[in-house]
């Protein structure tokens, strides 16, 4: 009898009360395509390549990012320009292989590659996921990446 009172007469209304309480609370969800969640500054999304202030590329095609990559997603071919500086002629990331671990930005000694905040890049063909150098340069955000200092600290392991 005591059990009956405890479970049916107390516990059942408790459940009712809990759901009813939430009826008047504000929704915690967002209307996704319209509103978007602000990403944390350290968020690791789609990659981009950084440039110097004069517009020349930072990447010197050293290959550290490719060797640090645990998913073998980076492919690059070096070349030299007329001034004798090394640069990457081909720089491709296979986004389907990439696991967004962030080792490439930690490995890069020139602070050239970073993982940005973009996360909506679905597509319907596999070829579209081979992310080329031009796309990565174009993807550069207007604001400077706010956590360069943090990554500089991490850059000890490669």
């Amino acid at each position: 009898m005591f059990d009956f009172v405890k479970t049916v007469l107390i516990a059942l209304p408790k459940g009712f009360y809990t759901t009813f309480k939430h009826l008047f609370k504000k929704p915690v969800t967002l209307q996704y395509p319209k509103e978007k969640m602000p990403m944390a500054p350290r968020y690791r999304g789609l990659h981009y390549l950084e440039k110097y202030e004069d517009g020349s590329e930072r990447c010197v095609c050293c290959g550290l990012c490719a060797s640090a990559c645990p998913a073998d997603a980076i492919y690059m071919e070096p070349a030299e320009n007329e001034k004798g500086e090394r640069y990457s002629e081909v720089y491709e990331i296979n986004l389907l292989r990439c696991i967004y671990c962030g080792f490439c930005e930690e490995a890069c000694p020139e602070e050239a590659i970073f993982l940005g905040h973009e996360y909506e890049f679905s597509n319907d063909s596999r070829d579209a996921f081979i992310y080329t150098k031009g796309q990565m340069l174009a993807n550069r955000p207007t604001k400077e990446k706010p956590f360069k200092k943090i990554i500089r600290k991490v850059r000890r392991i490669f």
Binding site: K6, T7, V8, I10, A11, L12, K14, G15, Y17, T18, T19, H22, V28, M39, A40, P41, R42, Y43, R44, S67, A68, P70, I99, Y100, C101, G102, F103, E106, A107, L115, I150, K153, V154, R156, I157, F158
Partner: protein
């Protein structure tokens, strides 16, 4: 009368595309009406060959691969691999980094138990608790995101320390979360704990005796629900767990309801640990540890490290030859595998609805089983 009737057993394929098999587990159920006669788990639908992948990566590169081992508690996966290599190479981890590790692991345990709570309620037909628990889990994931930049695959705990210091806004947010979490868990309990429907569905269902649990190697909350007080955080302390005061909840019936109670209590205990860790966090010296280099070669030898994960004992065995940058052999152990093996014993003679309840209460997650 019965002579004229012919009954026969039939087979039902539960999974791999079944809503409540938590991923891609498949059961071949031989049934007599609604009653299970035999159940045979078929595993391997989520096999990604993680052990072999690790054997072809440098030690540092193994950490993001370990994230995928058990994606509900990636922090613990990071930790278990890092611990193994640190043991092998004798690396000291600074105190500050140890505290961060404990905070992250315990938050992750809460997050993992929240997934379990939501899916358990969902498997029993109650949909609303699922959304309540995921609401709080979102707060934890926000904290992880601001710390390490990802919400699920963190790549945060590295060999020799942690990758980044916590951001300044982490501690206020964490304190705010800890201040409300107990009330939220009260809400969860109000939905299910004493609900008569929930009780009749779980009490006395899927009783796992302590002998059987030990024989099958069941560990973690499922083992403690059977009455065995065994928790690696207390019995084989790793990291700095011996500095915190926390209870290890134990129940004695070993049924689904006890497994539920244990996990609910564990959430509160984990919150306690995080509170203590935040208090003790050394402010004087921010040292996140010196992580190993890419060309790091530990000495020849073998090591097994184990930690208490939210689903039982999680272990990694590493064999190193001493002259390469890559491990010779990596073996991973997840608690879910043993808990899945005990399923056929538990579901004999129960109804099909109980299969779902038992599976939910054991908290099986398939990536950990298939690896």
């Amino acid at each position: 009368m019965t002579e004229g009737l012919r009954t026969e057993e039939f087979q039902v394929n539960m999974g791999p595309h079944h809503p409540s098999t938590h991923g891609v587990c498949r059961f071949i159920l031989t049934m007599d009406g609604e009653v299970i006669v035999r159940a045979e788990p078929v595993i391997g639908y989520l096999h990604r060959s993680l052990e072999k992948i690790c054997e072809n990566r440098t030690y540092a590169q193994c950490i993001p691969v370990m994230d995928r081992f058990e994606y509900c508690t990636s922090m613990c996966c990071n930790e278990v691999f890092a611990l193994a290599v640190e043991k092998l190479a004798g690396i000291e981890v600074p105190e500050y980094a140890e505290y961060l590790r404990v905070i992250m692991m315990e938050l992750n345990r809460i997050a993992s138990h929240m997934i379990w709570y939501g899916t358990t309620a969902l498997d029993l037909g109650a949909i609303t608790p699922f959304l309540y628990s995921f609401r709080e889990r979102e707060d934890i994931l926000d904290m992880f995101e601001m710390t390490c930049g990802q919400r699920l695959t963190y790549n945060y705990i590295r060999i020799g320390g942690v990758s980044k210091d916590i951001p300044p806004e982490f501690i206020p947010k964490c304190k705010e979360f800890l201040a409300t979490i107990d009330h939220k868990i009260d809400d969860y309990e109000r939905m299910l704990t004493e609900n008569p429907i929930f009780m009749v569905r779980n009490k006395g269902v899927g009783t796992l005796s302590p002998e059987m649990a030990i024989a099958y190697g069941v560990s973690g909350p499922s083992l403690r629900a059977s009455g065995i007080k065994y928790d690696l955080r207390r019995d084989d302390p790793y990291s700095i767990y011996n500095r915190f005061k926390f209870d290890i909840p134990v129940c004695h019936n070993g049924d689904c309801y006890d497994r539920y109670i244990i996990r609910i209590k564990e959430m509160r205990e984990s919150a306690k640990i995080v509170r203590q860790a935040l208090e003790q966090l050394p402010n004087a010296e921010v040292n996140t540890g010196k992580m190993v280099k890419a060309n790091f070669k530990p000495a020849k030898g073998e090591v097994y490290s184990r930690i208490e994960n939210s689903r039982g004992e999680m272990g990694v065995y590493i064999q190193s030859t001493g002259d390469t940058k890559k491990p010779l052999r990596v073996k991973m152990r997840g608690g879910s595998y043993n808990q899945l093996q005990v399923m056929p014993e538990l579901v004999k003679g129960v109804k099909i609805a109980d299969v779902v309840a038992i599976m939910a209460s054991l908290d099986i997650i398939m990536p950990e089983v298939d690896r």
